[in-house]
């Protein structure tokens, strides 16, 4: 019995044991996404005879004789289904990887289900949006300003209400160009490549280490090679000897060279032992199972405390400190900083109140909906007889990945092309080379296309996490609320490899400290190896961990002297003219107050919280019952708008014969919305609309170089390059038009689609022809090096209620004010803020990658690692400060990582205000809240200092 897919009976029959998702994708239905393999995320939702099911846990054989509808079949005859239309109109997506499943689910809703989205959408996870735009899309309603009074405040409340103009330039809610492709399931992510384009595609699976620390004595691959379908097995004997770092930075020397493609020493459970390449995933898995490995077990350490103990096994002890750039390999210390500005002893002596506490942040995972994956193949390079390697990868950094592959495999860069399709979320996790080296090695050797796709389990156990930080804080204040000293002792756990260990440690100790004026600051920080899953880049890049500690401590200081915490912050936070200092007595030479909106952000949050309190009072809800305690809390954060030590971007922009524009940019699109921003920046400079600027990106063939989409650089660095190219092109267009119309260039003005030359109006298509006749190509390039840099700010406030009898926490109000400079696209920027809040709430309340006593990750599926679902995320009020940055393109600043940073401490401070209990460890789960309050209430605990 055939399976009918979108109205057409398919000839193919599923394999026994195959799930419906892989079967549908094999038939070319790439709109069906793999998010979790486990029925948890809903990205693979399809209809079987009209009933929505998760196709990843649906036995494909059960679909025989039934009719399956995928996202490709939801619309008919080019007409979008109403749900698709609503997702486009409300932009109910960012990366778009969850969107098809979201819509296939929502398309089945009746009114009752729409009225209860927390329940109806609990089987659909989104990591980007924070669900607000999804709610609007499902219900087909635009959101209005959160509060009628809010718009009258100094900063404008974000609104996508009916009065929005849509001229397609700076400041407009220009829709994402990929909208239609995303909602129809036709946007092509990394592995959405039709089989006919990659004949002979092979699949790679990894055998991973069962031991936390071991040396491989021998590997026997004979049985694996006998498995039908297995083509090759790669071990450390086949891998390049070159050490590198999976972390990707403009300067590769920023990270230690401590990693091999395949190593003979295992340093964490889950490390690559061998790679099996086969005709099918199943054969590759069978091959991996058949490999016999003999290990010599080594002593392992799982915490920085153990790793720093004298005599602890040195995880990278055989490496040379200088050449590998490891601070002290014998002591497991990758990087360290020790600094003192002023004299903290004297500062504490002058304090009338001192707070001391140890704060601990946990391992968390990015959970981008698209797992790490890549495909490599060889193609003619263009030179006779020469081939080059092509890698299609889910990457935030295609150009840096190319550099790394060139270095590891000793190839010239022009023999490698790295390209990213649409990327299904990143959050820092894809600022690494975690799969590209494997498929490159296999494709170079086998001369066939090779693909690897990580499972969700592999994401949790063997990719990267946020760095756990242990932060000892000692902070002092005078009675009138002036900080006298700040002392920090920081230990970060980088896991088995040092990718991003130095950068995260240094960055963490940067802006978190620099935002406060304090003459005496002391920092001792170390990044430490342990035999656990490696930590890497994660949204916030160290700042979120440090800000959790410092903003909690600042709150305690304020409470300690009886001052309102926001008042305390206003007294101590930097103002324009103040040096921004952390671990160096001199300020960073290229960081300036390009604009300053921190004071506005504090005021916006304070006012919004007061309005919220009034709302509850007016509604008679200020007392919630005998067991409910309520409180408010807030936190602030600062971030440099560009990463240090160079961040480069290049844009090529040209006029096309039809009068529209083509922009080639390097930076990647993974839901951050930079494509729209680039189109808007170019459109503004070219006096046209964003829809007339087509942006192509993430391909090393397109432009010279781009450092990549990390450090919130998509707008302020890459966008600057695009703006410069557009401004240059505008000049050239006017000059060609002036020559053609024989008027001074000064009299030529660009208008939408045309140039007004005095009385005459030339269509851009005519200008294009004129340029052809003049022998001129109307194209321009823009380059930007990421310096000078500015600072951006975020302030978050919460009102919470805590049930002291159960530990249940309810968020009554969530407010964030952001200083993003001139907001290029308010709807998108709001989405970035909302998404950052949601991700941070997960980290603050639930998420934790747990590692057991043997070093094994135990939270290896989404059911054990709860990321916020629709029901968990409150609707936040989002406000923007009104500033205009001198450094950023058209006054804009970065706003992608930073909304995440102040959320966890603001929540901890609100809980402290409600209950009197200080939570110094994340996550602050309900069970821990309950137990802490119970302890605090116990008589023995009443004697507190």
């Amino acid at each position: 019995m055939a399976i009918e897919i979108n109205g057409t009976a398919t000839e193919a029959a599923p394999r026994p044991g195959q799930c419906l998702r892989t079967f549908l994708r094999e038939q070319g239905n790439f709109g069906v996404k793999k998010g979790c393999d486990g029925g948890d995320c809903g990205a693979c939702t399809v209809h079987v005879d009209g009933t929505p099911v998760h196709s990843c846990i649906y036995p494909a054989v059960r679909a025989e004789g039934h009719s399956v509808t995928t996202i490709e079949g939801l619309s008919s005859g080019g007409e979008l289904h109403p749900v698709q239309q609503q997702f486009v109109e409300n932009q109910g997506f960012q990366c778009g990887f969850c969107t098809a499943g979201m819509m296939m689910t929502a398309a089945t809703f009746d009114d009752e289900q729409k009225a209860n989205l927390p329940r109806s959408l609990k089987g659909n996870l989104c990591r980007c949006t924070g669900y607000r735009s999804i709610a609007d899309a499902v219900c087909g309603s635009h959101t209005h300003a959160p509060d009628a009074g809010a718009a009258a405040q100094s900063g404008a409340a974000v609104s996508s209400g009916p009065e929005v103009k849509n001229t397609g330039q700076l400041g407009d809610d220009v829709p994402a160009p990929a909208g239609r492709a995303v909602v129809t399931g036709t946007a092509r992510y990394t592995l959405d490549v039709p089989a006919e384009q990659l004949p002979g595609l092979l699949h790679l699976k990894l055998l991973r280490s069962p031991h936390a620390h071991a040396r491989i004595v021998s590997i026997d691959t004979t049985a694996a090679l006998r498995v039908p379908g297995v083509v090759a097995v790669f071990t450390h004997e086949d891998a390049p000897a070159r050490l590198f770092s999976t972390a990707q930075h403009e300067l590769y020397t920023d990270d230690p060279d401590d990693t091999r493609v395949l190593d003979s020493v295992m340093r964490f459970i889950g490390q690559r032992v061998a790679a099996v390449v086969a005709e099918s995933v199943g054969a590759a898995e069978a091959g991996a199972r058949a490999i016999k490995v003999e290990y010599q077990l080594l002593d392992a350490v799982f915490s920085p405390r153990e790793a720093l103990r004298p005599g602890a096994p040195a995880i990278h002890g055989e490496k040379n400190a200088q050449t590998a750039r490891i601070s002290r390999p014998q002591n497991n210390v990758v990087a360290e900083v020790h600094s003192e500005l002023g004299n903290v002893e004297a500062g504490f002596a002058a304090a009338s109140f001192i707070h001391e506490n140890t704060y601990q942040t946990q391992r968390v995972q990015h959970v981008a909906m698209e797992t790490h994956c890549s495909i490599a193949w060889l193609e003619p390079s263009g030179k006779p007889g020469e081939e080059r390697l092509v890698v299609r990868s889910s990457s935030q950094v295609p150009f840096l990945a190319r550099r790394t592959l060139a270095r590891v495999f000793d190839l010239p860069e022009d023999r490698i092309r790295v390209v990213a399709g649409r990327v299904g979320g990143g959050f820092g996790g894809k600022q690494e080379v975690l799969t590209e080296d494997l498929v490159a090695m296999a494709a170079l050797k086998l001369r066939r296309p090779v693909q690897v796709e990580f499972t969700r389990n592999e994401q949790f156990t063997a990719t990267t996490t946020r760095h756990p930080f242990t932060i000892k804080v000692k902070a002092g204040t005078t009675r009138d609320g002036h900080l006298t000293a700040l002392q920090l002792d920081v230990v970060t756990n980088t896991g088995a490899y040092g990718n991003h260990a130095p950068g995260v440690m240094f960055h963490g100790c940067g802006e978190s400290l620099a935002v406060y004026k304090c003459a005496n600051k002391k920092v001792d920080a170390q990044a430490v190896y342990t035999n656990t899953v490696p930590a890497g880049a994660f949204r916030g890049y160290g700042l979120s961990q440090m800000i959790f500690a410092i903003e909690s401590a600042v709150d305690e200081l304020a409470v300690g002297i009886g001052m309102d915490p926001l008042e305390f912050r206003l007294k101590n936070m930097v103002r324009p003219g103040d040096d921004m200092l952390s671990t160096n007595p001199e300020p960073e030479e290229d960081v300036f107050y390009g604009s300053y909106g921190l004071d506005q952000c504090v005021a916006l949050v304070r006012d919004a919280l007061e309005r919220g309190a009034q709302r509850y009072r007016d509604a008679g809800l200020d007392h919630l019952g005998p067991e409910w305690a309520t409180g408010v809390g807030s936190a602030l954060s600062m971030i440099d708008t560009v990463p240090p030590r160079g961040h480069f971007a290049h844009t090529r922009l040209r006029l096309l014969p039809d009068g529209t524009f083509d922009a080639a940019v390097g930076t990647a699109e993974f839901g951050n919305g930079t494509t729209t921003v680039h189109a808007q920046l170019a459109a503004t400079a070219l006096s046209t609309t964003a829809s007339k600027v087509a942006v192509r990106q993430s391909d090393t063939d397109l432009v010279e170089h781009d450092t990549g989409a990390f450090g919130s650089a998509g707008t302020v660095v890459a966008g600057q390059a695009t703006l410069l190219a557009a401004q240059e092109l505008a000049l050239r267009i006017r000059s060609v038009a002036a020559a053609f119309a024989v008027v001074p260039a000064a009299d030529c003005v660009l208008e939408d689609g045309a140039v007004r030359c005095g009385p005459r109006v030339l269509a851009l298509a005519e200008v294009y022809d004129a340029a052809q006749q003049q022998g001129v190509e109307l194209a321009a390039e823009g380059r930007w090096g990421g310096t000078p840099r500015s600072v951006a700010f975020n302030v978050h406030g919460f009102r919470v209620a805590v049930n002291t009898g159960t530990g249940e926490l309810r968020i009554l109000q969530s407010v964030q004010a952001a200083d993003a400079g001139v907001v290029v696209n308010p709807r998108q920027c709001r989405g970035q803020v909302e998404g950052g809040i949601a991700q941070a709430l997960g980290v603050a309340l639930y998420e934790e990658v747990r590692v057991n006593d043997a070093g094994r990750v135990t939270t290896d599926i989404l059911r054990q690692y709860h990321i916020p679902s629709f029901a968990d995320v409150p609707r936040s009020e989002v406000y923007f400060a009104k500033t205009n940055d001198q450094m950023g393109p058209l006054g804009a600043k970065s706003m992608s990582e930073s909304p995440f940073n102040p959320v966890a401490p603001a929540l901890a401070n609100a809980i402290r205000n409600a209950t009197g209990a200080r939570f110094a460890e994340l996550p602050i789960a309900r069970d821990k809240i309950y137990l802490a309050l119970k302890d605090a209430a116990a008589p023995t605990q009443l004697v507190r200092i």
Binding site: G17, E285, T806, T859, A871, Y930
Partner: protein, 317 residues
């Protein structure tokens, strides 16, 4: 699942051999797949999909659920014609139990009552329901034999049960006596609509005896029974919980610390005692604590809920 060589449609335990697994809805089997690290990969699926078992059979003796009854079918039962006219207050806990799944309504279309019971996780809500209503499981053996066991005893630990290799759960009988009882339901989770950390079902039987069934908090179901004549105050109830559940029986995983689970078990047990035994509680509405029931109808997102007033009223009531 890449190790499966064949799918065999059968309901005969005699066909079972090593490397086989019974396939009901498939939602658990397929979600764990066949990871490379697994020792003994599965080779065949014995497919119950064509068993043709009547999902729900209602009679004067109670409700019989086939193992292959889907959660969606179970959710529909309390408002279906099949039970129309039955005075079975026990039906009130069916839907809260379904909503205790962390899995969504879409998964309910495939996942089965039997599958959830046989997976035997502490938070398995079908275990909560069946144990709470003193249900009995009928199990088919490999040589044509058949045995019955109370569901509360069927599950023996976290992911453990009394099935021998090849044995097949055929059906579950929910007795009319339990369905006729007044019931109470309490549940707490670490996240909104999240996995159950503590789930208690209380039942006041016709003879006046009180049955408390603890699941999710404990590694396996625990039942406390109090005779009608027994005077039961809050202190005695708490002491009985302490006696019945040793500390090591509380489940310890990311969904709740054992100490929290213990205190919440005592707390929810007392709430149930008050609801079912306190004279003031008689005739009151069927209430469910926690954040998820009855479904919020007014807003998409919880922080904008004006639901506190309702909650407060419920507490007063």
């Amino acid at each position: 699942m890449n190790t499966i060589e064949s799918v065999v449609a059968t309901t005969d335990p005699g066909q079972w051999r090593d490397g086989d697994a019974w396939l009901a809805g498939g939602t658990v089997l397929f979600s764990y797949g066949s990871p490379v690290g697994s020792e003994e990969p599965l080779k065949r699926l014995l497919d119950l999909g064509q068993a043709g078992w009547q999902s729900v059979t209602v009679s004067d003796s109670g409700v019989e659920l086939a193992a292959t009854c889907t959660v969606a079918e179970l959710y529909a039962l309390p408002v279906s014609d099949a039970v129309a006219g039955r005075n079975w207050p026990g039906l009130d806990v069916f839907r809260p139990c379904c909503d205790s799944f962390v899995a969504s309504f879409k998964v309910w279309n495939m996942s089965t009552v039997g599958g959830n019971v046989c997976t035997s996780l502490p938070a398995g809500p079908m275990i909560s329901l069946c144990a709470g209503l003193d249900a009995t499981a009928t199990i088919l053996g490999r040589h044509g034999s058949s045995r019955t066991v109370p569901v509360a005893e069927f599950v023996t630990g976290d992911g453990k049960n009394s099935l021998a290799p090849g044995e097949l759960l055929r059906s579950i009988q929910l007795p009319a006596s339990a369905l006729s009882a007044r019931v109470a339901f309490r549940r707490l989770s670490l996240s909104n609509l999240g996995r159950s950390g503590v789930l208690l079902i209380g039942r006041l039987d016709a003879d006046g005896s009180l049955v408390l069934t603890v699941t999710a908090a404990t590694k396996r179901p625990v039942q406390l029974r109090f005779a009608a004549a027994q005077v039961l105050d809050a202190g005695q109830l708490a002491a009985a919980v302490e006696r019945s559940i040793p500390p090591e029986l509380y489940h310890d995983d990311i969904h709740g610390l054992p100490e929290w689970r213990r205190d919440m078990t005592v707390r929810l047990a007392e709430e149930i005692r008050m609801e079912l035994l306190d004279p003031a509680g008689h005739g009151g509405p069927f209430t469910v604590s926690g954040d998820f029931w009855p479904p919020h109808a007014t807003s998409q997102q919880p922080s904008t809920q004006p639901a506190f007033r309702d909650t407060a009223k419920q507490k007063e009531a």
